[in-house]
């Protein structure tokens, strides 16, 4: 038990030391990525200036899926090894993942209007990402839907694992339902089909969003840990006052 406690304590001590560096790198990445994507990159010959939306749309969409995958792995670890940090990591990830998913939907919509002539279409990719957004919301609701928080987290973990089925559907949606959204142009078996001058700033922004996720995750894990401790302290106080009353009577 002591060993187990030592792990979160050591984890958060390490996290506190890493966090400032992470935020520094996020700031640097944003500075480089934004100037590159918004100023240096030439307007696309077909899409004009709207191509700049790609530098936030695509990284948001990558993170929407990456965060969910991390959440599913953390939930699996929480279920199998009952590691308290894994549970906290999964719960802490969900709002961040939902935020990235929301960003990818909105920026996609704002890109779709000038280029496709519509804000929304029930296309395979868009619909499956919208479902992912609802899965995040449902997970967050489930975590807090039970009297006993441990039970809520466990049931939410199972839900997160089942929900992971949406990830391959999103990935292959552009091939299965070839309706509106273009197919993958970066992560391909035959290498990226996107111009290198456009790809580099995209990778910078992708890495920055990745670091942003880790920085926010550490912050939210701290907050979730504080919630667990707060609950335990309240329980301890309650138990103590009950014992005192029993002794007094």
């Amino acid at each position: 038990m002591i060993m187990r406690f030592a792990q979160p304590a050591r984890f958060f001590a390490l996290a506190d030391r890493i966090a400032p560096w992470l935020w520094g790198l996020v700031a640097l990445g944003l500075a480089v990525g934004l100037v590159w994507g918004l100023v240096i990159v030439e307007p696309d010959y077909q899409q004009g200036e709207t191509v700049r939306i790609m530098y936030i749309h695509v990284p948001s969409a990558w993170m929407a899926m990456f965060v969910y995958a991390s959440m599913a792995v953390a939930s699996f670890v929480a279920l199998v090894w009952r590691h308290p940090l894994a549970e906290i990591a999964a719960v802490a990830s969900a709002p961040i993942g939902a935020a990235f998913t929301f960003c990818s939907l909105v920026t996609g919509s704002l890109w779709g209007k000038p280029m496709w002539g519509t804000y929304w279409e029930w296309d395979g990719r868009m619909t499956s990402v919208l479902i992912l957004f609802f899965i995040y919301l449902a997970y967050m609701a489930l975590v807090h839907a039970f009297e006993d928080p441990a039970q809520g987290r466990r049931i939410a973990s199972i839900f997160a694992l089942v929900g992971a089925l949406i990830l391959p559907v999103i990935k292959f949606s552009v091939d299965w339902w070839n309706t509106l959204h273009q197919s993958s142009s970066v992560f391909r078996m035959d290498g990226p089909t996107i111009e290198a001058s456009l790809l580099w700033p995209l990778l910078v922004m992708g890495l920055t969003f990745q670091l942003l996720y880790f920085a926010l995750l550490l912050l939210r894990m701290r907050s979730e840990m504080a919630a667990v401790r707060l609950r335990s302290a309240r329980l301890a106080l309650m138990r103590r006052s009950q014992t005192n009353e029993a002794m007094a009577s």
Partner: protein
Amino acid sequence: MADFFAMGGYGSYVWGSYIVVALVMGGIFVWSVKELKSRQAALDRLKAQDKSLESEAASVGIAQTENQDGGAA
């Protein structure tokens, strides 16, 4: 400079996208910091109220979740 903001006539779409992402990601940061601070403050208040919680709350923290999990505590 005006050209930069106009974005070839697509300014509202391009800047709209960037503003939404900035607001959402900035919002989640601010919310998380506030949430952490308020939970930390509540925990500190409880500890001030009852000095003996100092060590207990810290150690109970994880043990509690393990017990509830039915784990091998």
